[in-house]
Amino acid sequence: MLDTIEEIQSAMERAKYIADRAVATVLHLSMKLGKPVLVEGEAGVGKTEIAKVLAQILETRLIRLQCYEGLDVGTALYEWNYSKQILWMKQAEICQAPREAVGKEIFSPEFLIRRPLLEAIQNDSERPVVLLIDEIDRSDEEFEAFLLEVLSDFQITIPEIGTIQAEQRPHVILTSNRTRELHDALKRRCLYHWIDYPSLEKERRIVLTKVPSVGMTLVNQVCCFMQRVREREFYKRPGIAETLDWVMALMALGKEELDEGAVRETLGCIFKYHQDLKQMEEYGVEKFLSSLPPRDDLTCTQIPRA
């Protein structure tokens, strides 16, 4: 059904994700080659969203593994339900159940806590699931090595049960914020895609798709403003997530147009660091505002120069 790049792209747009052709191409190849996709980019440009949308358009489940420092096999793969096992054993002791039976029982799937990776490999869904491994750069190198193993064979060995082989390989999306370099071996296994900040046109389309009730003037002004902001030096430049937050905040305040007061009141939607707020004051809010498209310019194909 999603057999061509065009189909993927339009399906993603129907799912309210404005994808450029490059993203669709990478996803298409990933499905054809059965390779994971590694998505990198600045925070808030929609990396995680790709996996969510992919699951949606493939009409399948999304299984998410959020990485953090110290993430280990017990939290990512499986864990025995120890307390349940102990209770079961106590119960068996009282009932004087035969030992062998108890031994078998407590290491049966019933006592297994399934964590995301196991779930992605063994599940009862009809179609391959989408496995999102989010912010892989936050996990440590040991976990990365382990992940490499899982991603190359798609099988997991549990000593008490045996080897579990994936019946259908999940579609794997990895995201990274580049807080550290990933290992070459992992990168080589993956198709790579870098998401940049969106162009003005793309950002407008995204806002209009996500917040259809917004007025054209506000969209044009907000998007131009954001493009301008991203040209400057800030500790953390705002992403699309911030743009959407901001548009909704402005709408909640009943604004149809940007003015200095509105911008100042809502600056917290764009900047999340004190030093950036200060920086903004230094640059001067009015300077950014002076270069916005006028109210009646609805075409807004380029950012007017100051």
Partner: protein
């Protein structure tokens, strides 16, 4: 799109991959094969699809993208020529398909080869890729080889001592706070299922991160190679390190040091660092570091080692500001100055004076004593 046989472009694809590899991209035979397979699923006449398909296969970080775009243009032109030549396709061309196959083998052999022996093959392929690059390669042969032997002999035991001290300090402790159920139960198996021993665990200790920012400007020239050798050695002990060099611009060389052996790393660095032996703008380069890298690399808790003589042609106010910013994030700032080795040196030049208030340790960079002292500081900081 007509019948475009893969064999026709495969040899070009391999050449393209090798060129990318020559530029430092992580290309493996597996990736080349996947790239070739990818072409089956896209419209080859569409430049954008063609480019993004190969890009997904061949690149693996943002820095790769520019290199890729540069070389892709040339590759695309070649592919167009192949397409046009296709006017007279004949069955005899089938014979070609063998040749690319051999090249795949060649590529994989290349992979196994020692990095130093790759030269001849690699250079042949790079003909036509801006000859200026060759001129940029600085001649390091002016250093007397016997000096190097002595330094290596002295430095190697220092490093191995350091490695022992660092790793000993990372031994896990038995007094963890959390219970390790998995291990406890595994242990219990030995005692017939009775839990005799509680296994505890504690959070893994993070090794010390070292960030080195080294001046390679003209005034540093006599000692640069010496210093880089030490940094290269230290990187082997403190695996969590990031290395930068600068004169007027900042260049990240961590990946180069990671990927190559010493001699080759040095060649690659001097090739890639365009402003080698140029002027110095410490403030400006620290600004670049603070803005571009400090946050992404997680500078908090890192020991930052600055190596420079402090002769700054830039703005001292900027240097002061950026040093303050750096100080806020870093755990410790160590400044190594090659001039400090001489007895009568006084830190009077502007740049050095501006930076000193923010420096925790001020060490000489051109004698072994200084590097030993650095080792001590780093060990003390290690968990």
């Amino acid at each position: 799109m007509g019948g475009f046989r893969q064999g026709e472009i495969l040899s070009h694809l391999i050449l393209f991959a090798r060129r990318l590899k020559g530029k430092g991209l992580k290309i493996t035979p597996g990736r080349v094969m996947d790239a070739a397979r990818s072409l089956e699923f896209i419209d080859l006449s569409d430049r954008n699809d063609f480019s993004s398909a190969l890009k997904a296969n061949f690149t693996s970080c943002q820095e790769d993208l520019t290199i890729y775009e540069e070389l892709f243009e040339q590759f695309w032109v070649q592919i167009q020529e192949v397409l046009q030549k296709r006017a007279a396709p004949g069955p005899e061309e089938l014979g070609d398909e063998g040749a690319p196959g051999e090249e795949v083998l060649l590529l994989s052999e290349n992979e196994e080869e020692a990095p130093g022996e790759e030269g001849a093959e690699g250079e042949k392929l790079q003909v036509g890729y801006s000859p200026e690059e060759v001129l940029m390669v600085k001649d390091f042969s002016q250093y007397a080889p016997e000096d190097w032997k002595i330094i290596d002999q002295e430095f190697a035991p220092l490093l191995s001592q350091l490695a022992v001290r660092v790793s000993r300090r990372r031994e896990p402790s038995a007094k963890g706070r959390e219970m390790d159920f998995r291990r406890t139960f595994r242990q219990a198996v030995h005692y017939g299922g009775e839990v005799v021993e509680l296994v505890r665990r504690r959070r893994k200790i993070k090794p010390l991160k070292m960030i080195v920012i080294c001046d390679v400007s003209g005034s540093m020239d006599p000692s640069t190679r010496f210093i880089l050798r030490f940094i290269f050695g230290l990187r082997g002990v403190f695996r969590q390190s990031e290395i930068f060099v600068f004169s007027t611009r900042l260049t990240r060389i961590t990946d180069i040091l990671k990927r190559h052996r010493w001699a080759e790393a040095l060649m690659t660095i001097s090739r890639q660092v365009q402003d080698w032996s140029g002027g110095t703008k410490i403030g400006h380069c620290l600004k670049m570091f603070n803005e571009r890298y400090a946050r992404d690399l997680g500078i908090g808790g890192a020991a930052v080692i600055l190596i420079s003589d402090g002769w700054d042609r830039g703005d001292t106010e900027l240097l002061d500001f950026e040093m303050r910013r750096l100080k806020r994030g870093a755990r410790r700032i160590i400044w190594m100055n090659p001039l400090l080795g001489s007895a009568d040196y006084q830190p009077i030049c502007q740049g050095m004076r501006a930076a000193l208030p923010y420096v925790d340790d001020f060490l000489p960079a051109t004698n072994l004593k200084g590097w030993k002292a650095l080792g001590d500081v780093l060990v003390a900081l290690s968990p």
